[in-house]
């Protein structure tokens, strides 16, 4: 009885208030610092893009991580939210209404939420494969419909808008990227806090229950279909907010935003970031978003790297990047990371060498094949190389293979060490 009382006391909301608000204080601090640390229109625009994708990925994780649903068409609601917001802005500007631009995502989000109820009702009869297939079908349907209604979706070039047309509000005229950053940052906090809150509600818990064991939920009096439908609609609504922000940021929205490529992108971001840690998808959105923005400037092969990262996470770290961080954090707190550090450093170093080799192989391959017209001379990772030269290919292959092969014995030693530390076969925490 006394034990019990102590435990209940410990779990009182008041007691946990401090640790619970700490990450949020950190989030807000980071959001304040970011535009100061990375000034300039291009940088801030990139931040706006990352924030948008972070919201999008968080919304996707309501389905993937929280409810265990693999949607293959989540971009439908991102895109539709963007189109709804864009047309709302164009319509209101023409009618001369004074609607504050920062509230525009509310319209896109609500529209996507309503459409999400409808889509969820169609897709939610079953989980698993049928759900994935129906969401894929629905998104293809919407994508195909875009061709039929050029007045709504624009043709190839999409629908553009001028975000300043709604006029100034909140002391901003929305001409600069920094103004948009404020909007994105505030919406990021609202969406993240809202979705975090959602995980603590009865419906949020039932979503987990449906993920774990959908059949049992029915024997507790609930309809798994209803749970799926509402989580689907909530995910759709938040995706619509993200899509509206994307439209505001780029001042244009195209059908690509609601197509399969965008659906795949958010799936990869969420999975790579980690589905079982709340902020995991944000991490994924930032990493993948940066890869997309920077890597696509540096190399035509960026999609390939992206695929490699995905395969790496699927095979080596199914908990995603956030899973790795959380695991490492738990080890540090338990004081069990220290003994592993030398081995981990060696593995990391060899891994980097191997990665360098793989990068060289890929870049040489591109230069020898698709981009042959650019000539065979190329700088890769600072080294002058030749796509037709045996030496270049030899060095690349040596690094890639040599690194990979020499890692293997180290990995088994790491495993033995982790066994000894009692980290394997049990929870590291």
């Amino acid at each position: 009885m006394t034990m019990n009382a102590i435990e209940t006391a410990r779990s009182r909301p008041g007691q946990t208030l401090l640790p619970a608000t700490l990450p949020w204080a950190a989030v807000i601090a980071v959001l304040f610092i970011l535009p100061l640390a990375f000034p300039g229109t291009a940088m801030v625009s990139t931040l706006n893009y990352l924030g948008t994708m972070a919201i999008f990925a968080l919304s996707y994780n309501v389905l993937l991580g929280q409810t265990g649903l693999l949607s293959l068409g989540h971009a439908t609601f991102f895109g539709l939210g963007g189109f709804i917001a864009t047309h709302a802005l164009l319509g209101m500007a023409e009618a001369g209404w004074a609607f504050p631009l920062p509230l525009l995502p509310l319209i896109g989000g609500l529209g996507a939420f309503v459409l999400g109820i409808f889509g969820g009702w169609l897709a939610s009869g079953k989980g698993g494969m049928p759900f994935a297939m129906i969401t894929l079908g629905l998104s293809e349907l919407v994508y195909a419909a875009a061709a039929i209604f050029p007045s709504i979706y624009g043709s190839e070039e999409g629908v553009s808008m001028d975000r300043m047309e709604l006029g100034s509000s909140f002391g901003m005229d929305y001409g600069s990227a920094t103004d948009i950053y404020v909007i994105v940052a505030v919406w990021f906090v609202i969406c993240a806090a809202g979705l975090k809150y959602f995980t603590t509600t009865p419906l949020g818990l039932l979503a987990n229950a449906v993920r774990d064991n959908a059949e049992r939920v029915e024997f507790l009096g609930f309809s798994a279909r209803r749970v799926r439908m509402w989580t689907y609609a909530i995910a759709a609504g938040v995706a619509g907010i993200a899509g509206s922000l994307a439209a505001i940021n780029f001042e244009i929205i195209t059908v690509i935003e609601l197509g399969a490529a965008t659906s795949t992108l958010v799936l990869l971001m969420t999975y790579i970031g980690g589905t079982r840690v709340f902020f995991g998808p944000v991490l994924g959105a930032v990493v993948i978003g940066l890869m997309k923005v920077w890597l696509s400037d540096l190399t035509p092969a960026w999609m390939l790297y992206f695929g490699l990262l995905f395969i790496f996470v699927v095979m080596v770290a199914p908990g995603g990047l956030a899973g790795i961080l959380v695991g490492a954090g738990a080890m540090i707190r338990a004081g069990r990371l220290g003994p592993q550090l030398p081995l981990l450093a060696a593995i990391g170093g060899l891994g980097l060498l191997s990665l360098a080799g793989v990068i060289m192989l890929i870049e040489l391959g591109y230069r020898a094949g698709l981009d042959a017209a650019l000539g065979s001379q190329i700088r890769i990772l600072g080294l002058p190389m030749d796509a037709h030269g045996l030496n270049s290919w030899g060095l690349a292959a040596l690094l890639a293979l040599g690194g990979a092969l020499s890692i293997r014995p180290l990995l088994s030693r790491l495993e033995t060490l982790q066994h000894r530390l009692g980290l394997k076969g049990g929870d590291p925490a």
């Binding site: 809150y197 509600t201 009865p202 039932l206 987990n208 229950a209 064991n213 049992r216 609930f222």
Partner: protein, 254 residues
């Protein structure tokens, strides 16, 4: 209102050409503890699946408090006042014990699919879960993941999910299967406590347990109820002795 919690009339179920339930008639009286026994493969679990809505009957009627429930979805049957546990543990493995129980009490407390308040603020949910944890002797495990529990603890949670829903009629499918002697004794005590004042239909093999707890016993053999009666009547029934109890090692064979 009927005096019977459950009435089953000429219930049949076939899987393709195979008849598994072949005209079952059974009554569970309100407030009684009723044991369902029968050899392996007799169709006891299938009968439970039919009553609880996991399977649709091929024909026949199932009345819960006089209302027809055959063929209805499981959730509707829960709302009508019947809940069940499973022979093969059927819990939420990646959620904590507390979260498992929260899910189970949400419907009866009327919170349903709500997003209006966080669970931590729902006093009634917390109070009910605390009470259940205490009753199930799982208080020290409240924040453990369900899949990290020992087997008897998982069986206790399985039972907890069934009783937490507040239904007045319970179906328990071999709640003590696979437990040691002492674990069985503890589980029996628990079952007697949590089913106090409710109608209980329970599949059980341990004759000691059955004769201790059951008001009445029904014997299911090859998809038919061949006898129903008090423990004494069942013990004395020649058909039962021949079909079931008569075999020398009946208790293990069961």
């Amino acid at each position: 209102m009927s005096a019977n919690a459950i009435e089953i009339r000429d219930l049949r179920k076939s899987f393709g050409p195979v008849d598994i339930i072949r005209g079952v008639n059974l009554e569970l009286r309100a407030g009684e503890r009723h044991a369902l026994i029968g050899p392996n493969g007799a169709g006891k679990s299938t009968l439970f699946h039919l009553i609880s809505g996991r399977l649709r009957p091929t024909s026949g009627k199932i009345l819960l408090h006089g209302q027809e429930i055959q063929g209805k979805p499981p959730a509707r049957i829960v709302h009508a006042g019947l809940s069940r546990s499973f022979q093969i543990t059927n819990i939420f493995p990646e959620m904590t014990v507390l979260e498992n129980l929260r899910c189970a009490v949400l419907w009866k407390l009327g919170h349903r699919y709500s997003v209006l308040r966080p669970l931590g603020r729902l006093r009634d949910v917390e109070a009910e879960c605390t009470r259940l944890l205490e009753e199930l002797r799982l208080t020290h495990r409240r924040t453990s993941r369900a899949d990290s529990l020992s087997y008897p603890e998982q069986r206790a949670l399985e039972l907890g999910l069934a009783v937490a829903s507040g239904a007045d009629t319970l179906l328990l499918d071999e709640p003590m299967a696979g437990m040691s002697h002492s674990e069985t004794a503890a589980a029996l005590e628990l079952i007697m406590a949590v089913t106090e004042g409710r109608s209980l239909l329970m599949v059980e093999h341990d004759m000691g347990v059955i004769f201790e707890m059951a008001d009445r016993i029904s014997v299911l053999v090859y998809g038919e109820v061949i006898a129903t009666g008090t423990p004494e009547e069942i013990r004395a029934n020649p058909a039962v002795q021949e079909a079931y109890l008569g075999t020398p090692n009946a208790e293990e064979a069961a």
